[in-house]
Subunit: 354 residues, 2 copies
């Protein structure tokens, strides 16, 4: 049997495909389009695990009535610089689009804003939201509680913590903006599962077992836990992120997190936060951007280790990938394509990504 090859589609075509799927499942057209845009933005950045790849499980949740198709995403409390948004169990992309736009609006008027959300769902890639303030010469920050627990507290064996990610975006001038988007675990659980599928072992440092020993056989992953970056340091950062994006908003964190890969019915009550801040609170925008360019170049052009072709700034690889994929299209892996085509057939869509 010939191995299937990945296929490449223009971003716009994939966006339309995602929107059609969501509309067929009952989402209002504008909402479907917003979700599609946010998802494909992740694919454009090369964060293939957080874009269209997630459409099938989102659809499963919608079909099992685990998400609200006609939500009233609304602001529960607010002042000039903060807001608490209730997502009414909408698609996470809708909640976070609402929250991020609100943060940018408030920051435009007042200098900065912190918006927290509750009753949301998985919203895709963090950098999709943290980078939205960039166009307004603002710094962005994003945190969320991951939707499945694959990590134990430092010294513990109960799965109470997720990969809780944090993302920052800082504008530059002629250089690409500096964009960090990291889980606080060394590896994602997805990478572990992928290694298991391929029959490969995983590196020491990704997972530990119940006795704290390295676990390198990914088939045994259910017996162990992901390891936080910097051991107890990453554990601490992970907990802080969970408290600032979960507990502070009245969203889940810890034992009450719903595993979105296993339970497609219970509302996730997923919590997120987004922060936006104008650069010109501190410096004229041009001065700041010039200085950013200078330090970016200083780092990139500094002496490299033997065998290293290039020193990358955070987010630089993703920045070039957006350019490349806008031009050449987005590659879709065969297994993902198969699922998407199956979905399209079930929904009797005219576009089946043939």
């Amino acid at each position: 049997m010939a191995e299937k090859k990945e296929r490449v589609y223009p971003a716009k075509r994939l966006e339309q495909f995602v929107a059609s799927v969501l509309v067929a499942l009952g989402l209002p057209e504008t909402d479907a389009k917003t979700c599609a845009t946010r998802m494909i933005e992740a694919d454009l950045r090369g964060v293939d695990t957080h874009g269209i790849f997630r459409l099938p499980p989102y659809c499963q949740r919608i079909r099992m009535k685990g998400m609200n198709l006609h939500p009233k995403v609304h602001t529960v409390r607010e002042n000039a610089v903060t807001a608490l948004v209730d997502g009414d169990n909408a698609m996470g992309h809708l909640v976070m689009t609402y929250a991020t736009q609100l943060a940018i609006r408030k920051a435009s008027e007042s200098g900065l804003a912190w918006v927290g959300t509750r009753n949301g769902n998985h919203a895709g890639a963090g950098a999709v939201y943290s980078t939205m303030p960039l166009a307004h010469d603002m710094i962005g920050m994003y945190m969320t509680v991951a939707n499945a627990n694959h990590m134990a507290p430092w010294g513990g064996v109960e799965l109470l913590l997720g990969t809780n990610p944090i993302s920052f975006a800082i504008p530059a001038g002629k250089e690409p903006p500096v964009v960090l988007d990291i889980a606080t675990t060394v590896s994602s659980y997805g990478k572990v599962k992928l290694a298991a599928k391929k029959g490969e072992s995983i590196p020491v440092g990704w997972m530990i077992d119940r006795r704290g020993k390295p676990l390198t056989d990914p088939k045994r992953s259910a017996e162990g836990f992901l390891v936080p970056i910097g051991d107890y340091k990453g554990y601490g950062l992970n907990v802080v992120i969970g408290m600032l994006s979960g507990v502070l908003n009245g969203a889940t964190f810890g034992r009450n997190v719903v595993d979105f890969n296993k339970d497609f019915v219970t509302p996730n009550n997923s919590g997120h936060m987004i922060f936006a801040m104008r650069v010109d609170n501190f410096q004229p925008v041009d001065t700041f951007k010039r200085e950013m360019d200078r330090v970016i170049r200083e780092i990139r052009e500094s002496e490299r280790m033997e065998g290293v072709d290039r020193i990358w700034l955070p987010g630089e690889i993703e920045y070039s990938r957006v350019k490349e994929r806008l031009e050449k299209g987005i590659p879709i892996a065969p297994a993902v394509l198969e699922e998407l085509q199956k979905l399209a057939a079930e929904l009797k869509l005219s576009d089946r990504l043939d």
Copy 2:
């Protein structure tokens, strides 16, 4: 020769001692007292590397006219929720005390505030500042550019980056607040130097050499670099912290960082940031604190790894140490004591910590 033993002093006595030293060197009495309080707060938390231990190098800088004894710490720009503070090359503790009080005042009135500082100096332990908002039922966040570069960009060999730390403080109810204070490197450079002194080797993962191989002989530390937590992830976080606390404020970051262990004359232009945010923007304080207590207990009381006595929340160890040291006093290591006594003798102080 009998080995000297550590000695224990009441916090108040050490505070008075530090203040006397600084007054003898020409600091105004209120400024000296403020610096002393901030330094001993670090010792109380058990962050022995960032408290009184630093007094001799601070004094050396003062004597070499590397810091301004009569500074005008002032706000350069501000609005209701942000400020840029110029430290006028004052002791870092004065700049950060001013900035943190300003952030708390603004947050009390407006909900939150971000204050950046430039033209400052080393300010001791980050948690000393991030925890100041706690008493006002506020969350605190602190970042700074470290005052010496011991790390290279990921893939590079030039020392452009420091240990750039980040600290968060989140109030709880009956439980201790959650306080994280971490460098973004696996180890501090201080620990490496200590190992060299003791003739011990350092663990794989602390440092790498110019070829990216583990460096375990601390005597060779000048040939290598500290390793960021989570490899490229910690590198990215480190760079972001440097940009948000350095570049944004017009302070140093990268090649222009002054190595405060080697150069005691050139103004450091050290940059810091402090953020304070009221909890009741999002929830009634009591509700939030109850929920914090609940998740804290959930983590602490969750199942432990064999051989682990207790699961600690971030900052919990330091919290108990403050209690213990307020009661029993602060132990001072023999080598540190010797330096402090020498300093006292040189300055002809009446208190020589005999």
